[in-house]
């Protein structure tokens, strides 16, 4: 190999390393966790499904959930310290009953990666159910204050 072969080799290698890796966030990283709620019977303390539950954010068009379930995973608002939901039970009958529920929390950003940036974690301060003439939600208990995973429920709601 003479000088020109070597210099050509170096130039070819230039091509190979001159490009930057793309900054695309791969969804393999854990994102901001959802709030997980478990529904229980107010009298017996056992798991109890809510029949035909409809959940949506107050002032938001789209429903988050429709159906019967004894536990639910819902996203909190990353841009405010309060998230307000409308929980309607038996939404498709004459017995339909809407309760408004407010979650107050602190937010903490946690660095994920170059391409994904930061995710949010939360610490629940309190839960307020707005009083109306016939609340179907009897009580709520914060089981795990810090929301940084989606392994177990964070909040219990008795009805």
């Amino acid at each position: 190999m003479n000088f020109h072969h070597y210099s050509r080799l170096v130039l070819i290698l230039f091509f190979l390393i001159a490009c930057e890796p793309d900054d695309i966030c791969l969804e393999s990283y854990k994102d901001s966790p959802n709030l997980i709620i478990k529904f229980l019977d107010f009298n017996t303390g056992e798991n109890k499904s809510v029949i035909n539950l409809k959940i949506k954010g107050i002032n938001i068009e789209d429903d988050l959930f429709n159906g019967s379930t004894d536990s639910i995973s819902i996203p909190l608002n990353n841009y405010e310290n309060t998230t307000s939901f409308s929980f309607t039970k038996e939404f498709d009958s004459n017995e339909s009953n809407e309760d408004l529920i407010y979650f107050n929390y602190l937010r903490n950003n946690v660095y994920v990666s170059r391409s994904c940036g930061y995710r949010m974690e939360y610490a629940i301060e309190n839960i307020i159910v707005e009083n109306d003439t016939s609340n179907w939600i009897e009580d709520s208990i914060i089981e795990r204050r810090v929301i940084n995973d989606e392994i177990l429920h964070h909040v219990k709601i008795y009805h």
Partner: protein, 241 residues
């Protein structure tokens, strides 16, 4: 896609310049050899201090949100061995869809080059392997970010939460392959490719070192990095042997 085209333009420019410079050096070779033939018994080897700048930084400034400067000095101590020092400054914005940040600071690199090219009579080109030990002191800044949340039920907006992380540092080694070619009396042009391996780095608790001055882009979970230089070097004509 835009990035690709600008990069392509930059590489094309670089190669044109390099090919021109190699072409120029070849003409000189012929002249030099003619001169040397006249007194072929006396082979003059020049030893001395050379100083230079890395022009690849100036080229990067045209295509990236980046400013920087890098100074170079070497001293030939043996026929094939040069002691090298490099000093520089980088200031790089890293903006992507989810995160806007900046990294800035200074670095120093020291090591040697070993010229393994056997020059024909009268030539002073080098093709070398090099080794550097490098250290950088820098700071990072986070301007704003988009929260990484896959269900976007509550909409998305950027959170502006300026944070500055000072007193960060890093140490690494570099292995390099490069060439320098003499383009006229006492002036050399060269390019090098570098493979960097991180030894240690100090990063803040809630952020990462995405770029380290001197080291270049740091990719996730990877101790290795790469770098390129494209230099103009001037030999101070004092010492002769």
């Amino acid at each position: 896609m835009m990035k690709f085209y600008t990069m392509l333009r930059y590489i094309t420019k670089l190669i044109t310049i390099l090919i021109l410079s190699i072409g120029t050096s070849q003409e000189n070779v012929v002249l030099d050899q003619n001169i040397k033939l006249q007194d072929s018994f006396k082979i003059e080897q020049k030893y001395g201090i050379r100083v230079g700048v890395d022009l690849s930084k100036q080229i990067r400034m045209l295509t990236e949100d980046y400013t920087g400067v890098s100074l170079y000095a070497d001293l030939r101590i043996k026929e094939r061995i040069f002691i090298v020092a490099e000093l520089g400054n980088d200031d790089k914005r890293i903006n992507n869809e989810n995160l806007n940040s900046k990294f800035s600071g200074n670095y120093i690199k020291a090591g040697f080059n070993y010229n393994f090219y056997n020059n024909p009579l009268g030539l002073e080109n080098e093709i070398y392997f090099g080794f550097r030990f490098a250290a950088s002191k820098f700071k990072s800044e986070v301007y704003d970010y988009l929260v990484y949340d896959l269900d976007k039920y509550w909409g998305q907006g950027r959170i502006e939460d300026y944070k500055e992380y000072n007193d960060l540092d890093a140490n690494w080694i570099e292995l390099m392959l490069g060439f320098n070619t003499k383009i006229s009396k006492n002036i050399f042009m060269g390019a090098s490719l570098r493979l960097n391996r991180m030894i240690s780095q100090k990063s803040p608790d809630n952020f990462g070192n995405l770029f380290i001055p001197g080291f270049n882009i740091v990719t996730e979970d990877n101790k290795f990095g790469t770098g390129i230089t494209y230099s103009i070097i001037y030999r101070i004509p004092i010492i002769k042997k």
